[in-house]
Subunit: 232 residues, 2 copies
């Protein structure tokens, strides 16, 4: 652990609570629909929308733009009619997601001894505005539009390592998702799991526990900071 | 000015005092040579070393690596013999440059209302470690290894604008160098000049005053913050 010089964090679900953020934004402006169901439906299009980019069938497209396309489809699905300006405003809800209660304190503690940043499928603009809103004290913001790859593609992890001028074993990925950690470990990064058992709501059945012998398993990001040996 | 959503800063010379930082590092470990002259000689190779990359005659190479090559040449020039480990250590002096006295306060004030970041020929790892050491509160760190271009190439500015999901007129470059500002203005960025009359030492003759009608001319970065109208 003392070799780890940078700790990078999956963001959506691990650091911020996207479901609460999106459903709150939906509820604030649009009555008469199930806001939680809307948030789930919008997010359900997330992985699918990145697939053509991962396969190389579509040129790299930012997550802001994919979110916007997915929002249009979700609005249709729910029979909601919004103006383009209203649609843009709702799409910006991804920049105003609330952190989990332990996130800011945990990141601040980890940052005392290591470089910290997101390692997210979000793009730089989205992640930078999210960080300002949520108070996330990143040292660096390496977005997917920097690596030009969407996790779990290996280059998404390895290009971040290269930009930090480090070796894979000197970088740790922290995530609430076992598949993300498996992809990071496969290319040599250190790994830490934190459970976020309500990321998908009260009935969540996935990622409730570590799926492998990750280097660190922590209760939350404050606990993670305490488990990481300080670097001298 | 109220349109400006992000303020990006040239770094070497504008935010940090490279000559003092480098000469101090040289003086600390190597006696019997003129440390100021060594710093000047090392830096004098800076622009030249980027030229083959700008022309496309050399694949993109990070500034950390160019600095290392230039250091080897400068050591030869001064007849200094260092081990590879000592050379690496001295090369890291670029990560520990001191900020000008007004830099941290000025950046902190500008950051209240706008996204801030470096727009530097430095690379992400170098800039991130510099920021941690000097206490520079960047929101984003867009290095030259992200844009894959060295200023004053137009794409160095425009790719940073794109990553922030902004238009050129929504981004301001702050620099102590008139040529940098001219290149930024040529592609549509807002511009601010701050003089750093001792960047090159007490006998400096260049960039003592603004060379054009830049959008803002400020005495230092704190003055810059006061001159930028707050965004509501």
């Amino acid at each position: 652990m003392s070799a780890v010089q940078a700790v990078l964090f999956d963001t959506f679900g691990t650091v911020v609570d996207w479901r609460t953020g999106i459903s709150t934004a939906v509820r604030a402006h649009h009555t008469g629909i199930d806001a939680d169901a809307f948030a789930d439906a919008w997010r359900a299009r997330y992985q699918t929308s990145m697939e053509p980019v991962r396969r190389g069938d579509r040129p790299f497209t930012t997550l802001t733009r994919l979110h916007r396309e997915n929002l249009t489809a979700t609005l249709d699905e729910f029979g909601l009619r919004l103006t383009p300006a209203e649609t843009d405003r709702l799409n910006r809800a991804w920049e105003r997601l609330p952190p989990w209660p332990d996130s800011v304190e945990g990141l601040t503690l980890v940052r005392r001894h290591r470089i910290i940043g997101p390692l997210s499928n979000g793009n730089v603009g989205l992640l930078a505005r999210m960080a300002r809103h949520a108070g996330l004290p990143w040292d660096v913001v390496i977005g997917s539009d920097v690596t030009r790859r969407y996790k779990p593609q290996p280059e998404a992890y390895l290009r971040a390592v290269t930009l930090l001028e480090l070796e894979p074993a000197q970088v740790m990925l922290v995530a609430a998702h076992n598949d993300d950690l498996a992809a990071a470990r496969a290319v040599g990064l250190a790994t830490a799991f934190v459970p976020r058992p309500t990321e998908h709501g009260p009935a969540q059945t996935t990622d409730l526990a570590p799926g492998s012998d990750w280097d660190v398993v922590a209760a939350d990001l404050v606990d993670l900071a305490h488990r990481l040996t300080p670097r001298s």
